[in-house]
Point group: C2
Chain length 362, copies 2
């Protein structure tokens, strides 16, 4: 069962929870803003649903509440950050703010961050740049999940690529795992006891796993030694472009772990407290290429022309960011969508921290 909850009240509760852990007022505001943004844009898998996961990480010391990200190397257009295992969202906002500052001064900024934590949706950080009229990109690596083309064992992470650029009537936001689907989508289908609709998971390199009753195979997705993994974007055969999704995953690894000298996918394990994922943040000011308003107007026209193409009967052509904009209108008016189990988890955390949750859930 899911219910609707007022986003402002829920944001206030999340703010109080993070204050309860010992985060500062500003940090708690940033965290509440980020998580509620995610729910408001209809990406419930990565919003307050994840509070329990971060709670676990804070409890077991994987996330260190009082850590501060440190700039370990810097040029006019770049920086490497050691996040010292602080909460991923705070590292992400710090790193993206630095990339934005560099792009405003020098046209381009690329920041790569190591020893970070899970930072939620990559698109959030890309959008921080777009909100200031800039092009923003962000990526992160993860534990092994993707099967390299022809391999029977996962190696590359789900390694998403996010890209945001200002446009009218709303920002273009692309935010996609380089696997066909992210891990969370498999979990949703499993919870609903639905069979997968396409080749998202493969066993022994190229045998599709569809049936939701194949629980052992789905559980094996969390075992890096198992013969099960996620298909790259493009599937598991070169004929369908498997090597393309696989290669894009490697490129994300370059911008995250390789350039920052942080932990690569195979070094990331949920139980090891001394390793953390890596993230990258790139910002480009369109004004270094031409008249920013003209560029954005032309891009908006280009996207609108796509929306207006003839479509398959009964289908809508969405440009990236359209679905999120529709979800935002709905959630802002009617409330964000939270399932009963997640609500119970939030209430449990609030109770433990002595935070009053009554206003948020009524």
């Amino acid at each position: 069962m899911v219910k609707r909850y007022d986003s402002d009240k829920m944001k206030q509760l999340v703010f109080k929870i993070y204050q309860g852990y010992g985060f500062s007022v500003k940090q708690s505001e940033q965290l509440a803003e980020m998580l509620i943004y995610t729910d408001l844009h209809g990406i419930e898998s990565h919003g307050v649903q994840r509070l329990i996961m971060y709670d676990d990480f804070i409890q077991n010391g994987k996330i260190r509440v009082h850590s501060k990200p440190e700039i370990v190397k810097e040029t006019d257009v770049s920086a490497v950050i050691d996040a010292h295992f602080g909460l991923g969202q705070l590292n992400g906002i710090f790193s993206m703010d630095l990339a934005i500052k560099k792009a405003k001064q020098h046209g381009i900024g690329i920041v790569t961050t190591r020893n970070s934590g899970h930072y939620g949706i990559a698109g959030y950080y890309a959008n921080l740049a777009a909100e200031q009229g800039l092009i923003g990109m962000s990526s992160c690596n993860s534990r092994p999940a993707m099967l390299p083309t022809h391999a029977t064992k996962a190696f590359v992470g789900t390694n998403p690529i996010a890209f945001a650029m200002p446009a009218k009537p709303h920002t273009f936001i692309f935010d996609c795992a380089t696997t066909t689907v992210p891990q969370g989508k498999i979990e949703v289908y499993n919870k609903l006891e639905k069979d997968l609709p396409a080749l998202w998971v493969a066993k022994n390199g190229n045998e599709p796993v569809y049936d939701h009753r194949d629980q052992a195979d789905f559980a094996a997705l969390r075992d890096p030694e198992a013969n099960v993994g996620l298909a790259p974007l493009g599937g598991v055969s070169e004929d369908t472009g498997s090597h393309k999704g696989f290669g894009l995953g490697i490129i994300v690894e370059v911008f995250t772990s390789i350039l920052s000298m942080g932990n690569i996918s195979t070094e990331i394990t949920p139980d090891d407290l001394s390793v953390g994922p890596c993230q990258s943040f790139t910002v480009i000011d369109p004004a270094i290429f031409g008249d920013k308003d003209k560029i954005i107007d032309r891009f908006s026209r280009y996207l609108q022309d796509i929306r207006e193409l003839p479509a398959i009967p009964g289908k809508t052509i969405y440009v990236h960011g359209d679905k999120e904009a529709i979800a935002y209108e709905d959630r802002k008016k009617n409330g964000i969508i939270i399932d009963d189990r997640t609500l119970e988890e939030i209430v449990g955390i609030a109770t433990r921290l002595g935070v009053d949750y009554a206003a948020a859930i009524n």
Copy 2:
């Protein structure tokens, strides 16, 4: 029928042909080097096979032999080039050299080029940066070819993304269309009268076209008003990730035509002499992030670990650039592979230009 030809002798012939058109010694050397590089790396579709296409463009004035690329806007880290319809390869080399120069001085360089011509394989330009120890990227747009997800008419180009980074024992080179396959691959299957092995072409948005006898459908790929197009990477359904390939195609359009204010895909038509494709060239010096040798060593180890994963029986795990390195060893030793029809075309061009071709074809 195909035969093998010595690459040095064929390079000399290509050099003489370009001199015959009126290109300078240096330009003719660059063009011969680029085309033979392509054949040596086993990408025969884009090597000397394309001489006849460029010959057509030069003959009909679409490519202007005496044009020079002009820098119309520039910062420390960026430039916009108006190529004035010079030969794409020359614009590409000029633009990438400028991006390399900027990256060497300031860490990063992004150059976007408008009014260019067909520039061959994007990976060639990315590799120019990698040869100097830098990360190189290049993309280009094209006439409409890709079906946006749920659309029944092509709109986005095949819009490849190339990424090269130094590694041992050879450079990592990713060079992929954001459609499932490029147009040229369809043409090869059609010429061989082979059915397509996967959903590469769709009619009415989501009906696969496989049968090589469906000639009207394949011919319609060249008609922007037709109801046939190439599937994005990820196919034509959101379930298989269609929106991801589609979105990557849009991102390439941003870096090529949108930022340069050049012609977008729908404005590019083979017959209009006043429009040309756009290209982008990005270079990043890994040294701005850390010790370059350590970064490259770590990346090489990462790639080698992937090669050594357990594989599907009978299959090899290739990292991007491996197949090209194998082809290079073979072609360098045994000659590049040219089909009889292409040879005939080359002889025809040489004869018309009064160039002696005997040494190259014996």
